[in-house]
Amino acid sequence: MVDLSVKIGALKLKNPVMTASGTFGYGREYEDFIDINELGGIVVKGTTREARQGNDYPRMAETAMGMLNAVGLQNVGVDSFIKDIYPRLTKYQTNVLVNVSGSTIEDYIETASKINELEAIPGIELNISCPNIKEGGMAFGVSCQSAEAVTLAVRKVYKKQLMVKLSPNVTDIVEIAKAVEGSGADSVSLINTLLGMAIDSHSRRAVLSTITGGLSGPAVKPIALRMVWQVAKGVKIPVIGMGGISSAEDAIEFLLAGASAVQIGTANFVDPAVTIKVIEGIKRYLNLHKMESVGELVGALSVE
C-alpha cells in the first residue's frame, strides 16, 4: 500500500491532487462524475467582498492546446458564499480552500476575515494574480512591494493556512515568491494564467470582450514547470504546482520539480473525471517504481 498523503504546512492532504480555482465551481458541478472526497483538496471559485457580474461575453477562446478566459471573477460575493454555498461545502471530507480576490487591500482583509470564521475551511488561496479584472487582482502580484503589503495585511486577520497564488506575468517570479514567504505566507501556488490574446482574422476583432485574457491548458505547462522548479529552489515554504496538468505523468513532473502538491484546472473541462485518473496514475507509478510514499518524488529531479 503506497502512501499518497502529503502535507502543506499544517494542511494534511490524502493525496497531492487538488483542483484549481475557477475550474471546479464549488465542487457540486462535478459530483455526477467523481467522488469529491477522494481528492486531496478543492479550491473553490474566486470570492470577492461584493458580488461581481464578471466581464461581458465572449469570455473564452480556444487556442492551440489550451484556452484563453476572461471571466473576470464572476462570483456571488463573500456574504452570499457564506450564507448559501458554505453550508453544503461542510459535507465534503476533503480540504476545501477558498480563493480570495479583491481590488483593494481592504477588500482582501474584509473577505479573508469573514472566511477565517468558517470552521470547515482550513485555508485560503490569496489570489494576487487574476489577469482579468481592471483594478487589483494581478496588480498586487506583479511587484514585490504590493505582494508583500497584501500578504502582510491578510496574514494579520487570517489565522489558518495562507496559500498565495502567484502570477507568471512577472520578470522574476522567485522574487515575488520570496516576498510573500517573508510576509507570512504558509505556501505558494503557481502559476495563474498567462496574459494572452486572440484575434479573429475574418472579423478583424479580438475574440474576447476584454481583448486580453488568461491562457491555460497544456500549452502553458513547460513555463509552469520551469517556474515551479525555480520557486521551489528559492523558498522554504511548500509550493503547489499547476499549469496544464492533464495526466499523472504531468502531475509527477511537477512533484519532481519541487511541488508538494498539484492543482488541476483546465483539464477538468475536457475530462470531468481527470482528477481521479491522475490520482490512480500516481499510485500506479509509485508501485511500478517500488516507491512507498509520494513524498519521495517531491523535488527528486535529477540534475546531474
Partner: protein, 256 residues
C-alpha cells in the same frame, strides 16, 4: 444525472457540403432520459487543434436501440474532424447537459430552425408528437444546397422552408414566410434554435403577438457543466451560464 460515456459511430450520413448526421451507439448500456434541447459535450478524437469538447445538440434519440444522433455542421477544425470519423470510431460524450425545451401551454406550436439550429428540433418534434402535439417546422437556410434532409421532419409534421436566395421554398428569412406574416398567427408557441439575430427577431415577433417563445442559445463554452462561467448570457437576473441555466430560455428572460 450527467454521464461520461463512450459511443461507437454506427453511421455517418452526409447531408450536403456542410452537414453530416452521426449515429452513435452507447457502449455503456441504457441511455439516460433526455429532454429535447439538451446537448452533449463531444470530445474530438485525433485532432490536437480541438482541445476543448464541442457542444452539440441531441438531434434524435432511440432509447430502444441505445442510439443518439448528432447533426454536425462543419464550421471549424473540430467539427470537420468529427464529421470525417468513419463508422466504428469511438467518441466520448459528457451528456445530457443543460435544460431543454418545456412542453407548451397551447397545442398550436411552430418550430423554427436556422442553419444548424434545426438540430434539436427533430428530437423536439418527436417529443411533442409523443405528447399528442402536432409539430410544424419552419426551416431557414442560405441556399437549397445547405438544407439538411427534411424527410425525418416531414414524417412528424408539415415542413415549411425559406432560403435567402430563393432556391428552395420562400425567398428570404424565416420571418418572411407567409406563416409569419398574417395579422393573427395560427400558433401560440414558438420553439427556436439558430443564429442569434434570427432568434432576436423571433423574440420581438413573439412579444408583439403575445406568443410564448423558447430560444436555444449557442454560446461558446468550455466545460458545459457550469464550472468555467465562460458561456454566460445577460438575463433579468444578471449573467447566467447557457450550459446549465439554458441552453433553452424563455425569450422574455433574456436581456438581448
Amino acid at each position: 444525472m450527467k454521464h461520461i460515456h463512450n459511443f461507437t459511430i454506427s453511421n455517418n450520413e452526409r447531408q450536403n457540403e456542410e452537414f453530416v448526421v452521426l449515429t452513435l451507439n452507447c457502449e455503456a448500456g441504457e441511455l439516460p432520459a433526455m429532454v429535447p434541447g439538451q446537448f452533449a459535450e463531444v470530445r474530438v478524437p485525433n485532432e490536437p487543434a480541438a482541445y476543448l469538447r464541442r457542444p452539440l445538440s441531441i438531434h434524435d434519440v432511440d432509447y430502444q436501440k441505445r442510439q443518439i444522433k448528432l447533426l454536425v455542421q462543419e464550421v471549424g477544425k473540430g467539427t470537420r474532424a468529427l464529421s470525417a470519423l468513419p463508422v466504428g470510431s469511438i467518441v466520448n460524450l459528457v451528456y445530457p447537459l443543460g435544460k431543454g425545451y418545456s412542453l407548451p401551454e397551447s397545442k398550436e406550436v411552430l418550430l423554427i430552425g436556422g442553419g444548424c439550429g434545426v438540430a434539436p428540433l427533430l428530437f423536439l418534434g418527436r417529443y411533442l408528437k409523443s405528447h399528442s402535439i402536432e409539430p410544424r417546422f419552419l426551416i431557414g437556410t442560405r441556399t437549397a444546397s445547405s438544407l439538411v434532409s427534411i424527410d425525418a421532419y416531414r414524417e412528424l409534421g408539415e415542413v415549411m422552408i425559406t432560403t435567402e436566395d430563393g432556391t428552395a421554398g420562400t425567398k428570404g428569412y424565416v420571418i418572411h414566410h407567409p406563416v409569419m406574416r398574417t395579422e393573427t398567427p395560427d400558433f401560440k408557441q414558438i420553439y427556436t434554435c439558430g443564429p442569434e439575430p434570427m432568434m432576436r427577431i423571433l423574440a420581438k415577433y413573439a412579444n408583439k403577438h403575445n406568443i410564448s417563445c423558447q430560444v436555444s442559445l449557442e454560446n461558446h463554452m468550455a466545460c458545459g457543466i457550469g464550472a468555467c462561467l465562460c458561456c454566460v448570457t445577460k438575463t433579468q437576473d444578471g449573467h447566467k451560464c447557457v450550459c446549465t441555466e439554458g441552453p433553452v430560455f424563455d425569450s422574455k428572460y433574456l436581456q438581448w
